[in-house]
């Protein structure tokens, strides 16, 4: 029987199919939480979220990874969605998309914006993760939405990470949660991991006054429509903050003045000893606590008012 080539081909096909399904099903989740969402569907879930939230968190990867909607939800007694995207630019189209997720019937609509100098740069406006995900073809969106299980089952694994895991070494991870949060952890933590990148990012790519101006106009419009717009600069490692302040052309004090003049509410970032896992993002283990503190400060500020 084994001498027959068609038979051998059939056995190889069958054996491969069984191995693929068994390995795909048996593999452990990449991150800490087994959300069952593939990376690709994660973005679509955000984009297709209903207008059913009291608070929406908008911004780039810092918002995406630092702010856990579940923790904020508890502190604010509200429905919260993280609408952050990698490399997002704070363009009017993006802010509109974020605001569109707010429940029009909610008595307390809040748009929390994670402000970073990078999100006002031309490169971010061009390469925004929001634009990339939103502009995907219908075929891709269909595949990512309906064949998520296949995507997830056959997602590639990193061989070096696999070896480290088999040796019992703690490795970094990224998770994709249905509420839009993308917790990240780099192991070992490195406050300087992103410094080289940030030293290059702002070369010929400083904060654009036109992007900033358009953003402030949008804030004015949203504030007038009854949405409470809250701005916050999320924490980063000292070396990174220095690079941002030195090279980006972002004048935070002036920005806050204009932001508040447009009807926005500026919040100082809650103080605390949070681990900034790669110098730019709060570690997944600390992000819930940071999110709770920020939510509590937002709540307290509203009460004081």
């Amino acid at each position: 029987m084994l001498a027959s080539i068609p038979c051998r081909l059939a056995i190889v096909s069958l054996l491969s199919a069984v191995t693929l399904v068994v390995l795909g099903k048996a593999r452990p989740p990449d991150g800490q939480f087994d959300s069952g969402l593939s990376r690709d569907k994660f973005w679509l879930v955000k984009l297709r979220a209903d207008a059913a939230y009291d608070a929406v968190l908008a911004g780039d990867s810092r918002t995406l990874s630092d702010l856990d909607p579940a923790s904020m939800s508890a502190a604010l007694s509200s429905r919260v969605l993280n609408f952050g995207f990698n490399v997002a630019a704070l363009t009017p189209a993006y802010i509109d998309a974020a605001a569109s997720k707010l429940d029009p019937k909610s008595p307390n609509r809040r748009l929390v914006i994670g402000v970073t100098p990078r999100s006002f740069t031309p490169v971010n406006a061009k390469l925004s993760g929001y634009v990339e995900e939103n502009d995907r073809s219908v075929d891709e969106k269909f595949f990512n939405w309906h064949l998520n299980a296949l995507n997830e089952m056959f997602r590639p694994a990193s061989l070096p990470l696999l070896i480290l895991r088999l040796r019992g070494v703690q490795v970094g991870y990224t998770d994709h949660m249905p509420n839009g949060w993308m917790p990240v952890s780099l192991r070992p933590h490195s406050a300087t991991a992103q410094v080289a990148v940030y030293n290059r990012i702002f070369v010929d790519n400083q904060v654009s006054s036109s992007i900033e101006e358009a953003f402030l106009q949008k804030i004015l419009e949203l504030s007038r429509s009854g949405i409470r717009v809250i701005g916050v600069r999320l924490p980063v490692a000292a070396a990174l903050l220095d690079a941002e302040n030195r090279m980006s052309g972002f004048d935070q004090a002036a920005f806050i003045r204009r932001f508040e003049a447009a009807g926005g509410h500026w919040m100082p970032s809650p103080a605390g000893n949070f681990i900034i896992t790669d110098g730019s993002h709060i570690d997944a283990a600390d992000a819930p606590q940071y999110s709770s503190l920020l939510a509590a400060e937002i709540r307290d500020a509203e009460r004081t008012k």
């Binding site: 084994l2 001498a3 080539i5 068609p6 051998r8 081909l9 056995i11 190889v12 054996l15 491969s16 069984v18 191995t19 693929l20 390995l23 795909g24 593999r27 056959f154 590639p156 694994a157 990193s158 061989l159 070096p160 070896i163 080289a196 990148v197 290059r200």
Partner: protein, 441 residues
């Protein structure tokens, strides 16, 4: 038979047109010129030369226009500028049709072989286009000589059992080379060439360039293996394109193992017609230099590719004059040392091949040659896949077939399990998707 050829031609054109259907016109145009020219050579033997010139003009003219016109114009403008003159020629960026260098050479070999009397021209255009455009080899080779493929197409071939099994072996391993090794090495190499990773020492640079050497090898030979496997499944045999080139113990041997279909094309249609090694030592070196420079230019319209060819020519000349591989191999571990030297020579040349421009190439070459503290800072993942690629080559080198203790039945079972295992690796350990490097040529 016509149905079979029509099927091959239509599907191959569909495959090519998937990228951009307009360029099918180009493929048909150069193909028709060659088809008609070859027929005319047979019908009007007194005008063979004119017909050959027509074919050369159509093929090389098209290739020159699409691939080299911007390069030539910018260099002539620069030359004019150097003498204080204006830029006379417009530098127009033209989209390079996928696989143009491959199918042009395939088509050219047909008319040249007919001109030489080595091949009888076919009267059936379907037959001709099936050979020129057969989809597995159309965009990235192997460069199939019409003299090899046309006779196969003329027969009513069905894949044999050995071809079915051998085809599976080639396809599975081809995908492994491309998707697991090449695609995982690619991001690490790209980071170094994009400036996202700054090598700290000469060792780092040598490692990065060696990684690129294995990336391009696994990328291209992976494609060739898949193409050969698909051909086997259709009952055809394609030329072997790579034969473990990094196990060569001389650069001359390397060129008999690397991109064999191209190097043999240049040997038969450029080096030998120039006189090869028959007209004295000096002429032989000159012929070899011309061949290598043209080979570099074939890869791309940039000085980096020409210099890549020149570096190989220089090392080949040194090897011919000194005969160092033969001397070295007399010593204990001489073969291993020769292998390492060849690898180092090839890697050094790869720096020029991969660099974005001459400035970067020189910067990297300096980095490779500047002896400093041998600090290694390249990623562990890169080293892992480099070791995997190198280990795979050494394993193939030492593979002596089925071990004596293994029965045929056990061997077959083991082989089937092995294929299932490799397929799983391809699916789960695949790197970030990237197009085949040689598609750009």
């Amino acid at each position: 038979m016509n149905v079979r050829w029509t099927f091959i031609v239509v599907l191959s054109f569909f495959f090519y047109g998937w990228w951009d259907w307009r360029y099918i016109i180009l493929l048909v145009f150069t193909g028709m010129v060659d088809f008609v020219a070859a027929l005319a050579m047979s019908r009007f033997p007194g005008h063979k030369k004119e017909m050959l010139l027509l074919s050369l003009f159509a093929n090389l003219g098209t290739l020159g226009f699409f691939k080299y016109s911007a390069f030539v114009a910018s260099n002539l403008n620069a030359l004019s500028g150097a003498f204080g003159g204006p830029s006379y020629l417009p530098v127009v960026a033209i989209i390079l049709p996928v696989g143009i260098s491959f199918y042009t050479f395939q088509s050219l070999s047909y008319t040249i072989d007919v001109y030489r009397g080595d091949l009888k021209p076919t009267r059936n255009p379907l037959h001709f286009f099936a050979a020129i455009s057969m989809f597995p080899h159309l965009v990235a080779g192997p460069i199939m000589r019409a003299s090899k493929l046309l006779p196969q197409l003329a027969e009513d071939r069905k894949p044999s059992r050995a071809q079915l099994w051998g085809g599976l072996h080639l396809i599975v391993h081809g995908y492994f080379k491309k998707m697991v090794i090449a695609d995982n090495l690619a991001p690490i190499v790209n980071e170094a060439f994009n400036g996202q990773f700054v090598p700290h020492s000469f060792v780092d640079w040598w490692l990065i360039i060696t990684m690129f050497g294995f990336q391009i090898y696994c990328d291209f030979s992976g494609y060739s293996d898949i193409a050969r496997g698909l051909a086997k499944w259709m009952g055809y045999e394609f030329t072997l394109n790579f034969d473990h080139p990094y196990l060569s113990t001389s650069l001359r041997e390397f060129w008999t193992r690397w991109h064999i279909s191209l190097s043999s094309w240049f040997r038969d249609y450029v080096y030998f017609p120039l006189g090869g090694a028959r007209r004295g030592e000096l002429r032989s070196h000159a012929n070899m230099w011309i061949t290598m420079l043209l080979s570099g230019l074939w890869h791309g319209a940039a000085w980096t590719f020409i210099i890549w060819g020149a570096i190989h020519a220089l090392f080949l000349s040194i090897e011919r004059i000194t005969k160092w591989p033969e001397h070295l191999k007399r010593f204990r571990f001489g073969r291993v040392a020769a292998l390492a030297i060849v690898m180092a020579q090839v890697a050094f040349a790869w720096a020029f091949f991969r660099a974005a421009d001459l400035h970067q190439a020189l910067h990297i070459a300096r980095g490779m040659l500047e002896i400093n503290a041998p600090k290694i800072s390249v990623s562990g993942a890169g080293l892992l896949f480099l070791a995997l690629a190198a280990g795979r080559e050494v394993y193939c080198w030492n593979w002596n077939g089925r071990p004596a203790w293994m029965t045929l039945r056990t061997a077959v079972v083991a082989e089937m399990a092995w294929y299932a295992c490799v397929i799983s690796c391809v699916v789960f350990l695949r790197g970030p998707g990237a197009t085949f490097i040689y598609f750009q040529f």
